[in-house]
């Protein structure tokens, strides 16, 4: 069984010496014209001392901070990438923030919760501190195919760490399995051999561990001749698509697969869900990968569903603040309302019975926000797979 921890650190090279590029050189900060669009668009700058423009400025005029330990606000970033997308000069402020985290990590100055998540990923292949042999427990009462040693996998269901271990999100994985079964899809999983994709690890700035995970996963995928991959989280999908260098195969999010199965007539809803539903675009599905239509097309085809958009939707959707390592980090000096609270209240104001999303982190932060915003009993948070499975 492939184990990340057993591979040993020799598996990759360290960057070799020479001139250490300054922050300005490394992140091409000199192109910045200090227009401030980054900070203006930043969802967390409203709520924390994080000021992206200022951090870029510090890097322009001098060596800049030595790491996120000197500018703890860098840990507040959710890596939603709005700043990078809005920059008129092509600067990548988000990369700078991740780079600052990386410098802290290199110096051993990771926040304790981040340290624990990283050590767990190295040891167990997941950031949740859970042992590897429990990774397939979510499927205990189901008949989920697990690929045998070297067995080819034309369609891989890459479950991901949070759906595999978090009791709430396990329900989503189980709902998805029921949908795949109903549509007669042939697929396979890695069972306990699956390891973290590295998305959060990379965003916490632990580049070395990320490379180790990439290498391990590539080997695992190649050993099974994986064809296409459906991921249980937009975060995993984004990482496989954009951060693994060479493509690892066709990668889709489950909402895309469900839409396709409906298009092809393989998935049919026999039941109905008589509910007013609205949808929260996960950043890593929407903003990062422009997947806006497929989830909506699934929702609209569920019999009985009355769908209505939130005001801030699609490209303008509010971030839930669960990404970029923020599941492990409390933002610095938080003030004002948490964005997830705002989101839940908006949905309640819209009169929705259910706020649907399509991401494990969004699901967890929104569900938590139902309690913290005092909306208990007023609205339900469901994943798109759960809602669809209700109509089977």
């Amino acid at each position: 069984m492939p184990r990340v921890a057993a591979r040993g650190p020799q598996a990759f090279n360290t960057r070799t010496g020479g001139h250490m590029p300054t922050l300005a050189e490394k992140y091409e900060l000199l192109a910045c014209i200090q227009c401030g669009r980054c900070t203006a668009g930043c969802p967390v700058s409203l709520r924390t001392p994080l000021n992206v423009r200022k951090l870029v400025y510090e890097g322009q005029i001098g060596p800049g901070p030595a790491g996120a330990h000197e500018r703890p606000q860098a840990w507040s970033c959710t890596t939603c990438s709005t700043c990078t997308e809005r920059c008129p000069k092509g600067v990548k402020p988000m990369e700078l923030l991740i780079g600052l985290r990386g410098k802290s990590i290199e110096r051993g100055k990771a926040l304790p919760a981040v340290r624990d998540a990283l050590e767990s990923t190295f040891k167990h292949g997941n950031p949740w501190g859970r042992s590897r042999d429990k990774r397939a427990e979510w499927a205990d009462e189901l008949d989920v195919p697990i690929a045998g040693e070297g067995e080819a996998i034309p369609l891989l269901y890459y479950v991901g760490c949070t759906p595999a271990y978090d009791p709430r999100v396990q329900d989503v994985a189980r709902a998805l399995v029921r949908l795949l079964e109903a549509a007669g899809v042939t697929y396979s999983t890695f069972g306990t051999a699956e390891s973290c994709c590295g998305n959060e690890v990379k965003r916490m700035g632990e580049e070395g561990l990320f490379e180790l995970l990439v290498e391990g996963n590539r080997e695992l995928f190649a050993g099974h001749d994986v064809g296409s991959i459906v991921t249980g989280s937009p975060h995993c999908m984004n990482t496989f698509l954009k951060e693994y260098g060479e493509p690892v195969g066709e990668v889709v999010h489950y909402s895309q697969l469900l839409a396709r199965l409906l298009d092809e007539g393989r998935l049919e809803f026999k039941g109905s869900v008589e509910k007013k539903v609205t949808y929260h675009d996960p950043c890593f599905l929407g903003k990062h990968n422009s997947i806006f239509d497929e989830p909506r097309s699934v929702l609209e085809r569920i019999p009985g569903v009355e769908f209505e958009e939130l005001d801030r939707s699609r490209e303008r959707a509010l971030c839930c603040e669960g990404g970029g390592g923020r599941m492990w980090v409390e933002a610095e000096e938080e003030r004002g309302e948490r964005l997830a609270d705002t989101r839940v209240k908006d949905a309640v104001d819209l009169g929705a019975d259910v706020l649907v999303t399509a991401c494990p982190f969004c699901l967890l932060t929104l569900e938590d926000a139902v309690k913290t915003s005092g909306c208990e009993g007023k609205i339900e948070i469901l994943d798109i797979a759960e809602l669809a499975a209700l109509a089977l």
């Binding site: 304790p112 919760a113 949740w128 501190g129 009791p167 709430r168 492990w328």
Partner: protein
């Protein structure tokens, strides 16, 4: 078999429970081997403690000396080594406590005698003594022998044996073994009492204790809610304090507080003996743990094997329903 020697441990004028527990078992061993039980008591002004021990042992060997006013292994060790050399007991029992752990290994080197630590049992088997101890967090029992050693040293886990009052009527024997001056290389400075916090967990009838299984500080909210529902306080195991999630005064166990509530609910606590030492006398003990083999289920009266992230919310809901 020669004597069974038990080192009496005391602090602030009181003998520790483990002393009586060891003496109880020492009598069993001595009776089986046709030997005597000798208690060894070092201290300053400990005459009344010696009297208390006469019922427990055949002999109470006392060295009353100023040099023993405070514990210092560098003073205890050479004196105890002398006593042992003089009497050649078959076995010397010392508590597996902060005191015993500091002393026993150095005694073992000084005497060149084998030492088995943290015993939960010690039995005569044929002509040999066999110790039982636990490894891997209480998931494995290990049986250990002592080869052909004449003197065997052991440290005994507190609460491993249930104490029974003895009726030996032993004699008190005052020793005159040399007590060295406190050496310059190790000096006792002072005792510092733990600071009191906002909540006194020893005063509550209901204690909800969390362990490392809680995984994240965030999950405390769920526990607080549950504790509030039952009108209890939240306590914890040591790793939760180490992580900084709760203050030290909430720690239950040997290096924390001892609680005796009517209800103790251990959530995500594995049940190492250092933890159990602080809660075993609770009237009703409930354990919630994913691992059916976790030792906490041995200490508990009721258990749920399951994921605390699911069980605690479900339990909160059921209790709320029952109340409604």
């Amino acid at each position: 078999m020669n004597d069974v020697l038990v080192l009496a441990e005391h602090l602030n004028g009181e003998l520790k429970d483990v002393t009586f527990e060891m003496l109880t078992h020492a009598r069993v061993l001595a009776d089986a081997g046709g030997a005597k039980v000798a208690a060894v008591l070092f201290g300053s002004g400990v005459g009344d403690l010696a009297e208390k021990l006469t019922a427990e042992a055949d002999e109470v060997l006392v060295r009353d000396h100023d040099g023993f006013a405070n514990y210092n292994s560098a003073v205890y060790q050479p004196v105890l080594a002398d006593v042992i050399r003089g009497r050649e007991p078959s076995v010397v029992m010392i508590g597996h406590t902060a005191f015993g752990v500091d002393l026993a290994p150095s005694l073992s080197v000084a005497l060149d005698a084998p030492l088995a630590t943290d015993l939960i049992d010690l039995a005569v088997e044929g002509t040999d003594l066999v110790a039982t101890r636990q490894t891997h967090g209480g998931k494995v029992n290990e049986r250990v022998g002592f080869g052909d050693a004449a003197v065997r040293l052991v440290t005994v886990r507190p609460a491993a044996f249930a104490p029974q009052a003895g009726s030996r009527g032993g004699s008190v024997i005052a020793l005159d073994t040399d007590v060295p001056q406190e050496p310059a290389f190790r000096r006792f400075v002072e005792y510092v009492e733990a600071a009191a916090g906002d909540v006194d967990i020893t005063k509550s009838d209901v204690v909800i204790a969390i362990g490392r299984g809680i995984k994240e500080e965030e999950n405390l909210a769920m526990i607080n809610e549950f504790a509030e529902l039952l009108g209890g306080v939240v306590a914890c195991s040591r790793p939760v304090v180490d992580a900084g999630w709760l203050p030290k005064d909430r720690q239950v166990g040997s290096s924390g507080k001892t609680v005796k509530p009517k209800l103790y609910v251990a959530i995500g606590v594995s049940g190492q003996f250092q933890h159990v030492a602080g809660m075993k006398s609770a009237e009703t003990i409930v354990a919630i743990n994913k691992d059916p083999k976790a030792p906490i289920f041995q200490a508990a009266h009721f258990g749920i094997v399951g994921d605390l992230m699911k069980v605690v919310p479900a339990l909160t809901e059921k209790i709320t329903e029952l109340r409604a």
